[in-house]
């Protein structure tokens, strides 16, 4: 991995930063509340788990993040960020232990100019505002809200152009996938179930804010309840009997080999045909700015009959990380991102992505 040196001249960059630093900040958060700052904050705290890497993608430094959720540091250890942006793991995790309940005194001690907090419960924001802290609220979990995280991070950090570059990648990629698979007939779509836990209860992802139609796929467990996960029993899994089983990247301890070795699952089509996949690490969080890569990857594993959908997906992945984070993953890291080892039993996987 190497830090990418942009082609822009150092002097121009300095001017640009100075310009950004001087510029007043004004935007509406997801509450519709206007947030105004005299300049991009030099001290920012966040309780939202994904915020450190989203904000980094715009700010490109961890120097301004003074307190984050301890749980987000713990989670990032399993993500690509631990290798790509290791300084994220050095952040102070005093803002909250887990969940969204803020440690108000610890946050106050860091004297932040802005706190980014979740808004699903007013009690999460009120204690912060009661002590005079300025709070930007992020809602959850529609695709638009997630894209807004990137936009807001660009505005807050004073680097909206970086956020725009990330969003352009997202929109361009999705438009290309929509052109390819948008009109695919339902009976041509490959069925899948997203399984996050395989134990007494089987936890499936029912409502990811990911448009599977972009990859010519249908999620058999999808429902409109608004719940992210739902628990099913093994008989329900047998009833679905999907073409593919997908393991989310955040399910660190679960791998395709667990399905192949499971005493009850050997009769399922996905297990018999070795079509159980661990999703690459660019899908480690549903809030990841690079999440759009998942649609391309899914289409490639679901529809091998359509030929290579991306002629050089490894390059696409590398370029995306450069554009979004300013860091280029080396070959070994790309292998880990693409879960080449975990997915080695899937026929043709290495040929597609090696």
């Amino acid at each position: 991995m190497k830090t990418v040196v942009f082609t822009g001249l150092a002097a121009m960059l300095a001017v640009s930063v100075a310009h950004a630093a001087d510029k007043p900040i004004s935007f509406e958060d997801h509450r519709g509340q206007k947030i105004e700052l005299a300049a991009p904050p030099e001290r920012i705290a966040t309780i939202i788990r994904a915020a450190p890497f989203i904000y980094y993608s715009a700010d490109r430094t961890t120097d301004h993040m003074v307190a984050v959720n301890a749980d987000s540091i713990a989670r990032m250890k399993n993500f690509v960020y631990a290798d790509l942006i290791p300084e994220l793991l050095e952040l102070d995790g005093a803002a909250a232990r887990d969940g969204f309940a803020p440690n108000v005194e610890a946050i106050l001690a860091t004297n932040p100019q802005l706190v980014i907090q979740a808004m699903h419960n007013p009690d999460l924001i009120e204690p912060l505002e009661r002590v005079g802290l300025k709070v930007a609220a992020w809602g959850c979990c529609s695709e638009q809200q997630r894209l807004d995280y990137i936009t807001m991070s660009g505005i807050i950090s004073g680097h909206p152009e970086r956020a725009e570059a990330t969003l352009k990648l997202h929109y361009d990629s999705n438009a290309a996938m929509k052109a390819k698979f948008g009109e695919l007939a339902d009976d041509k779509k490959v069925s899948l179930v997203y399984i996050e836990k395989l134990g007494d209860q089987i936890q499936v992802v029912a409502n990811p804010s990911q448009d599977f139609s972009l990859s010519g796929i249908k999620n058999l467990a999808a429902d409109d309840s608004g719940e992210w996960w739902k628990n099913v029993d093994v008989e329900q899994l047998f009833t679905w009997n999907p073409d593919m089983i997908i393991i989310p990247a955040q399910a660190v301890a679960l791998n395709p080999s667990d399905f192949y070795a499971h005493p009850l699952l050997s009769g399922m089509d996905a297990v018999k045909n070795k079509r159980v996949y661990k999703v690459p690490k660019f899908n480690a969080s549903p809030d990841s700015p690079e999440l759009f890569l998942s649609a391309v990857w899914l289409a490639m594993v679901a529809h091998p009959e359509m030929g290579p959908i991306d002629q050089d997906f490894r390059k696409t992945v590398r370029d995306a990380y450069v554009t979004i984070y300013g860091r280029e993953p080396d070959d070994a890291l790309v292998n880990r991102i693409l879960e080449l080892e975990a997915n080695s039993q899937a026929p043709g996987y290495a040929a597609l992505f090696k």
Binding site: E235, F238, L264
Partner: protein, 354 residues
């Protein structure tokens, strides 16, 4: 009056014959087992289920079922159905024996502390990353240890006061309840805490033949001990003073029955989590059918408990796409049923030992 004539007196006083009831209940249980194998989320007709089962005895030349269908019947449904029968029978027999032994309608394995002790052992095992036989052993040992502490606390000069026993049980249950809370507090909120919470609610979902064999090895001899003690329990149920006057080895019987019920309850908790109320409610219903003679009450309780647990498990696995923990259902049903029984007992002049 000799002990033999005392038992005859108890039997004569409640001169109902339990044989027809036992035969009817046994027939109901067998039919229910067969029906239970045919119901579930995976659609299977009765004839196919019969053919799959018969194939084990007389291999069919033209098997018209899939591997998946065979797995549903033989690996998913059958072990849990047999486990439900064993668990229901064991808990109901434990409750009936304890209620007779301590002449108190509120005594059951929960009250004497064994459930919470085993529950703590299980949660400790999950927190330490110990599963399988390790979890079973730790839960089992804590269950036995807790009941021994309760018995020692409640005994004075070789006699066990019922009030002291119940109070000691409450104390030990409260202690282990707090200890469970500490374990939950320390557990990783994403992986171990959900596993602990689900396990504590009780479920037969992941029961396999190994678990079943383990439960049978532990519980069947304990059930046999309880059944062999049926006449002694009859005598002690007249009161400890009378039983001693009749030459009954009260302390030995109490230890033997307590030990057997502790083994059963700890075995159930270790394999399936906490399943409450079965040992409290079923003996009351059984007593209404067979009378208080434990020679009749125990077989009726065993069969009723098995039927009840099987019905509960059928509800647990068919009502929703997810498994509902059986401990929740036994509580939801047990509490109102027990309230009705309590009202009826009071209207008839209360429990005989009041």
């Amino acid at each position: 009056m000799s002990m033999v004539s005392t038992n005859e007196t108890i039997s004569r006083q409640h001169g109902r014959s339990a044989t027809p009831a036992v035969l009817v209940l046994f027939a109901v249980l067998v039919c229910l087992i067969l029906v239970s194998i045919t119901i579930g989320r995976y659609d299977l007709d009765v004839l196919k289920v019969i053919r799959i089962l018969a194939d084990n005895l007389i291999p069919a030349s033209n098997a018209d079922w899939t591997v998946l269908e065979e797995q549903v019947v033989e690996l998913v449904r059958l072990p849990r159905i047999l486990a439900a029968v064993l668990v229901g029978a064991g808990l109901a027999a434990s409750g009936a024996a304890l209620q007779g032994l301590f002449r108190n309608p509120l005594v059951d394995p929960n009250i004497i502390g064994v459930t919470s002790g085993a529950g703590f052992g299980g949660t400790l095992a999950i927190l330490s990353g110990v599963f399988g036989y390790g979890l079973l052993a730790i839960a089992f040992l804590f269950g036995l240890a807790s009941v021994m502490i309760v018995k020692v606390l409640a005994s004075s000069r070789g006699r066990t006061s019922v009030l002291a026993l119940v109070l000691a049980g409450v104390i030990i249950s409260a202690f282990f309840g707090s200890a469970i809370s500490i374990v939950k507090l320390l557990a990783d909120p994403h992986q171990k805490l959900p596993a602990i919470t689900y396990w504590l609610m009780g479920s037969l979902a992941s029961t396999n033949y190994e678990d079943l064999l383990l439960m049978a090895v532990v519980m069947v001899p304990a059930l046999a001990v309880i059944y062999l003690m049926r006449f002694q329990i009859n005598i002690i149920s007249l009161g400890e003073e009378k039983a001693r006057a009749l030459g009954s080895p009260v302390a030995t019987v109490q230890w033997a029955v307590l030990g057997a019920t502790a083994v059963i309850s700890a075995g159930v908790v270790a394999c399936c989590g906490i399943i409450g109320w079965v040992g409290l409610v079923i003996p009351h219903v059984a007593r209404a059918i067979s009378g208080p003679d434990h020679g009749r009450l125990l077989p009726v309780s065993i069969l009723l408990g098995a039927i009840y647990m099987l019905l509960v498990d059928n509800i647990a696995r068919t009502v929703t796409t997810a498994e509902i923990p059986v401990g929740i259902i036994t509580s939801l049903i047990g509490v109102p049923v027990f309230a009705v029984l309590l009202r009826r007992m009071q209207s008839r002049g209360g429990w005989k030992s009041d």
